[in-house]
Symmetry: C2
Subunit: 341 residues, 2 copies
């Protein structure tokens, strides 16, 4: 910047104003002269210095539990798109669903003076753990999950209703022995799905046989294990509902390894629609979460907060997940194969 000033014989103030396009900053000729010098010298402003003085970095942090999961991948894309086109940069970090790491990453971001943080909460059941982060002046939006007790913007999906709807659909096909592969209990979004399933089953059948509810951990291996256990039971379920995409894949693997065919031996339905579900043989029935829109919505919310002077009170924004019926679900067959052992 000093070089530009020297070369053009103009003060740094004026240069700064020209770069930031302050109206009436300089005469036409000066602007041209400065722009030319900037170009010739290949000068570009040091945003670190600018950020320091401005006390805003035009950077937004995003902390996720598992950036490898394509569902989150799509969500990240939605966030990135809005963040970038709004003039911000994105700092991304992966917590591996580790509460302590998640906390440290958030603190690191605060230290880096991000203007806002988007957090996909790993699964703290209480808001207390987030207090040190929420106490700062930084804006926070929870994404894909919310934390009860925290009065914070959250963008989620109607997990309970969508899950219940999916289970009701299986019931409507005539299934009675419907198994559920649940996610971690301490994550609200996951818990809501479990509740939706349980709700539908109890409504229909009065109570739920405990052996039909397996607890996985949102991984392929977990899904496989749960499904394998279900297939060990003397009478295997006629339908299975997996509570996220990776567990669905695991369950599919276990079904395949058991030599069962879908949907004649067992129906399967997954939470999260994946791009390849429609071309799978058979194509897979799933609850489609609008991952991209979730990301966009959360990012828009945070940008709104950064731009507006007036701060509306925090809101829980609920997007709709909807059931997509394909070929992996069918009425139960009276005479099914037993799994090959």
């Amino acid at each position: 910047m000093n070089d530009v000033a020297e070369k053009t014989g103009v003060s740094k103030t004026t240069i700064s104003r020209i770069i930031n396009q302050i109206p009436n900053a300089a005469s036409k000729e000066t602007v041209e002269r400065v722009l030319k010098a900037i170009d010739e010298l290949g000068y570009y402003p040091n945003q670190v210095a600018a950020s320091l003085k401005r006390t805003t970095t035009r950077t937004i942090g995003l902390v996720m539990g598992d950036i490898e999961n394509p569902f989150f991948g799509l969500m990240i894309k939605g966030v990135e798109e809005v963040v970038r086109s709004s003039g911000y940069s994105l700092i991304l970090a992966n917590s591996n669903y580790d509460d302590a790491l998640e906390h440290d990453l958030c603190m690191l971001m605060l230290s880096k003076q991000v203007d806002a943080i988007l957090i996909a909460p790993s699964g703290f059941s209480s808001c207390k753990q987030y207090a040190p982060i929420l106490d700062r002046q930084t804006h926070v939006v929870f994404i894909d999950n919310y934390v009860p007790g925290c009065n914070v913007d959250s963008v989620i999906v109607n997990n309970y209703e969508a899950s219940k709807e999916a289970c009701d659909y299986l019931i409507s096909l005539g299934h009675k022995k419907i198994a559920f592969i649940a996610g971690p209990a301490n994550r609200i979004s996951s818990d809501q799905r479990t509740k939706g399933f349980v709700g539908a089953m109890e409504e229909e059948f009065g109570s739920l046989e405990p052996s039909l509810l397996k607890r996985g951990d949102h991984t392929i291996a977990g899904g496989y294990r749960c499904m394998a256990e279900l297939l060990q039971q003397p009478e295997i379920p006629t339908a299975v509902f997996a509570s996220n995409n990776l567990m669905t894949v695991g369950a599919l693997g276990a079904i395949k390894d058991a030599g069962l065919s879908i949907p004649s031996d067992i129906s399967i339905l997954g939470f999260d629609d994946m791009y390849w579900y429609s071309i799978n043989q058979p194509s897979l029935t799933a609850v489609d979460q609008p991952a991209y829109e979730i990301g966009q919505t959360a990012a828009k919310r945070v940008v709104m907060r950064l731009r507006n002077k007036k701060q509306p009170s925090p809101e829980v924004i609920e997007l709709k997940a909807k059931l997509i019926v394909r070929d992996s679900t069918a009425p139960p067959q009276p005479h099914r194969n037993a799994p090959k052992t």
Copy 2:
């Protein structure tokens, strides 16, 4: 920081030293007193200011063409893991394979004073376009692709050999009419795969029938279109090799819609292995790229450059992609179904 200084009656210098764990910075008691005050006041250092003074931000940029693609998702995870555990933060940006945007994003990152940039080049055929970025003091590593003429660290995969090997495998099964769904010609990685295919075919059959080579664009839609065109031909190929994951999915869709079955009517093989290929019906033969390792390797390379005083000359690091044979490839059947039209 001033508050801490005031509270403890110690200078900012000492506090800074304690925070940065400079050896012999202060006596035990002083350290304790300061740490206590820091904790009580909830002070955390402003990394923007620190970065300004240090002239290093401990931040690394990553520019990708399509962060939604699960292949890149896994690569990002590899990068993130190494970057984070090495004490850096990651700024992520998506260029949508747009050359101009890619350039702007890189400049923005330079402006933000990232210590290094990892770029998955969108497909510039020449190094000239990268010159303004490479001229700076910042370290650059190309990832997943390299740019001829640029003397820059690059982490890639043996695209040519892996592609040739895959094609040779199809030939060894007895296929003669093997189609290839190619990616963009201006991206070297993609071009190498095309060359590998063409090389294998010419080596075996002398020449390549041009109608067997379709050019897609690395999207599902492109893969579908190419496959549909191939199925329009009077004599359809007995095997098809798609040059990336999304085009493979598109091709699968077209095959499904044509009512053909795999592998009896047509064999299919894809570049990029996906986590669900093994549970697909039939499981899919694919060339497995070590996406996670690619990301890790590139990140490690850049961290090495940031840490070492000595700078070794730029290197092209080639990881091995390997063919995984599954059920979607089989010898050609003499009497095949024609596609339903």
